[in-house]
């Protein structure tokens, strides 16, 4: 079993209606790897500046995350600043500084090649393609994206999508790429473009998984605590792919369980700022909330 995650390690400054955090650790790669580390020993590919805290890298290592693919470069780490409104689903990007991510070309270390699963987080589609060319022939390729690439690099994105098994997107991205307001229709349209499974993340409304033979859904965890929604989608992917990697299968039953574990990890992520919640999360918390999700939809 092996899961390679290619994404960003970053600093985020985050403002919510009730609190503010400055330059805390974030990034799609960080979130995804931490969530996946509750299921497997993920290998991360990314880049940080010399300002990235050693104690965070050590925390990642203690969680069993392989950082051989993380380059440390002179300069500053990728930085993102954003603000959430009273509705946590609405966020505004205030500032993005690429810093060391500028001109970065991800390289897979020899020990990362021919993985079972590759996850291409929401980075530039050209880099995603490049990674796939290095990865050999993974058993399962998953990718995520953001609105920016749909708008500016649609062609390149669709090229990667053809090589993908599991495509993660949110509802707006599904509508933009699939061309339909109805997300089931959009999901089906996206299946035509390559993936076997289209996983539409709908925030508090849960997730819709559209497959070739069957679709299924899970509601969101009905929580009263949404401290910081940042990274929820990446943690969903981490739980989902970590669970698949642990199981070693990708049949419908495994995809369904993976969806539940993705929802579980996303539900934890939003309970605290940045990656804080994972510092005190226990394996048994994960299993317990999995059962909470089971009870949530039982009838």
């Amino acid at each position: 079993m092996s899961l390679v995650i290619v994404g960003s390690l970053a600093f985020d400054s985050i403002e919510t209606p009730t609190a503010r955090r400055v330059r805390i650790v974030g990034g799609s790669g960080s979130y995804c790897a931490l969530a996946a580390s509750f299921f497997t020993r993920p290998k991360v590919v990314g880049v940080v500046g010399r300002d990235f805290p050693t104690e965070t890298l050590n925390f990642f290592r203690r969680r069993g995350i392989d950082l051989k693919g993380v380059e440390v470069r002179p300069g500053k780490t990728f930085f993102w600043e954003g603000r959430y409104g009273a509705d946590p689903n609405l966020r505004t990007t205030i500032r993005t500084e690429l810093n060391v991510f500028k001109d970065y070309r991800p390289r897979l270390p020899e020990s990362y090649r021919r993985p079972d699963i590759v996850f291409l987080a929401n980075i530039d589609p050209d880099l995603q393609e490049d990674i796939l060319n290095q990865a050999g022939n993974p058993r399962l390729v998953a990718m995520d994206t953001i609105e920016l690439w749909i708008k500016t690099k649609r062609r390149a994105l669709l090229d990667v999508l053809r090589r993908v098994d599991v495509f993660f997107c949110n509802d707006q991205e599904a509508q933009m790429l699939g061309g339909e307001i109805n997300i089931v229709k959009s999901g089906r349209a996206l299946l035509e473009k390559g993936p076997r499974w289209v996983v539409v993340k709908k925030g508090e409304h849960g997730v819709l998984v559209v497959g070739r033979d069957r679709s299924f859904c899970l509601p969101g965890h009905p929580t009263e605590i949404v401290t910081d929604p940042t990274g929820a989608g990446d943690c969903f992917a981490g739980g989902f792919l970590g669970s698949l990697d642990r199981t070693g299968r990708a049949d419908e039953r495994s995809i369904r369980r993976a969806t539940a574990f993705g929802s579980v990890m996303a539900s934890f992520a939003i309970e605290d700022f940045g990656i804080e919640r994972f510092k005190r999360l226990k394996q048994k918390d994960v299993e317990e909330r999995f059962l909470v999700f089971k009870k949530l939809v039982r009838f």
Copy 2:
């Protein structure tokens, strides 16, 4: 077992981005009773004008619906005209004509008194209160409302709510009445105002049921066909309460099954205009879609 439904029987003119229907039969009482008729023999209280089609009343009767409580008055039936945008969750009311509903005071026929379940559809809270005073001591009282009453008759609405076991609302109504953007928090706030169960209908995003000891959720049926969303909420209530009436219990397990049957009936309603879908719906279709919902969330 007995279920009394107090609501409107109406004509609706409906415009969607692709089609238009003029003066077709609708109304919360019609929708709810038809949906409930797949589970029990509901008794309807309402009023129509002499223009209401006899063939529709006969169709209701063939479905086992008791119309003893429906008054036929000189004049025109209640009329509503509305338009849906490309997003079927957004609708605009163009016109409302109360007609015979103006000055109408619902009366429970003797044979309707002391029912097991009373459903107060989205009518004026004063009429809802009046009905409760006539009903004796039902085992279960359910109510629905609309934004209009929250804005114009909040006090009266809260008075009825204190006597209610199951409160149906949509997410905006939950936020308005509960005072919180987070609908779980709003649901809990509403529990403080009387009901044992707050059922928040979220359209395509499914339903959240907040209870005193436990909450649960179901996603919406992932359909590509949304022909006409009118009446989906009333059909949800009809399936929910019909199922409870058939079961004769209102424990958590029964409420969960009722939620699934509510979702099933709402999912059928939106597949055609007005009450059309129910004209060709078979009992086995209902049971089959119940199983579809079961599979939808299985993991």
